[in-house]
Symmetry: C2
Subunit: 198 residues, 2 copies
């Protein structure tokens, strides 16, 4: 017996979030109904306001409330360094580090021809255009070291290698706090190969 059509609709909607299964969706839906109503109504409003206020920055491809976005617009950030990331949320992660004061470019996808993500889907033309405008001295490919990430970095390196710009990527190895025992054989072999004098 389905107790309520509305509740079922809410559960199915929450179930569409990535990583939220049916059981978690049920728990969240009951939480919304059982806790104070104001919280749920405010959440609904916040979703609406936020989603409606975001647009794509035509310079860096990031979702933002203004176009150009605050980072492309900032006068106290340097054009000398351009950081290429896979997704919008990566920018917040890098910003939290408080190390980087350059510009960003969001690919939105990694190269994965089997999933239909080719050079066009990762916005190659816009990236090349951005590089020719900014003339950075370094392009940091801050992509994850998965097979798609590696393919994308290789592809971008091929495109950029003759352009008089230093192309870097994030270091790979054993994560801090990580265990040799729980590291994959690939991670370990890579860390071994890239070992450095202490």
């Amino acid at each position: 017996m389905i107790l309520s059509e509305n509740l079922e609709k809410l559960i199915q909607a929450l179930n569409r979030f990535p990583g939220i299964g049916r059981k978690t969706a049920q728990r969240l839906a009951w939480f919304l109904i059982a806790q104070d109503k104001n919280f749920a109504l405010q959440l609904a409003d916040t979703i609406k306001t936020t989603v409606e206020s975001f647009t794509t920055c035509h310079l860096c491809n990031m979702l933002s409330e203004s176009d150009p976005c605050p980072i492309c617009n900032a006068t106290d950030r340097h054009d000398t360094h351009l950081c290429v990331v896979e997704s919008n949320s990566d920018i917040q992660i890098i910003e939290n580090m408080s190390e980087f004061r350059g510009r960003y470019f969001v690919l939105n996808h990694l190269l994965s021809p089997i999933d239909g993500y080719g050079p066009e889907q990762i916005h190659t033309a816009e990236l090349l255009n951005r590089i020719s405008v900014l003339q950075p001295s370094e392009v940091i490919l801050a992509l994850k070291p998965s097979s798609e990430g590696e393919a994308t970095m290789h592809y971008l390196w091929e495109l950029l290698k003759d352009k008089n710009v230093t192309i870097t990527r994030l270091s790979t190895g054993i994560p801090f706090g990580g265990d040799l025992e729980y590291s994959s054989i690939n991670t370990l072999a890579n860390a071994w190969k890239r070992r450095y004098t202490v």
Copy 2:
């Protein structure tokens, strides 16, 4: 640098869900913004509609779109069996089993004096009243076997033991598919004590 006040508000709101940490909340918020806008707006609407349509059934304490709720109102369900559950979502779980055709009563909390949940908070008076009206032959205490659950079952048993009603609780033991190796010592000791002939 906080990229957007609105986004931050949305993340904090999602972060209030039980079991949703800051990182998951960030992922969900970006999903809402980056995926198709219609889904997000529909979700906001569904939250509003659902939350506004629910009210508490004055008979069984369950959150429902009608008062009395569909289960208290159903003429094809039996007054002979009353199932006492901790929360609203437990009802859907028991209904999915398609075994039970009696009535329910929702406590909303388990007894936990340290958290401020005493007899009043678990709606003892309303439960006793419901029992005196329905006159069930069996009251099933479908509560979890935690320390709060055990305390609540013991308390309710004390209240009901002289009332000419059979009081039952769910069986405890090793779950189907469970491993002896991964069962806690309490679970195992209990299953050992409650072993039965095959």
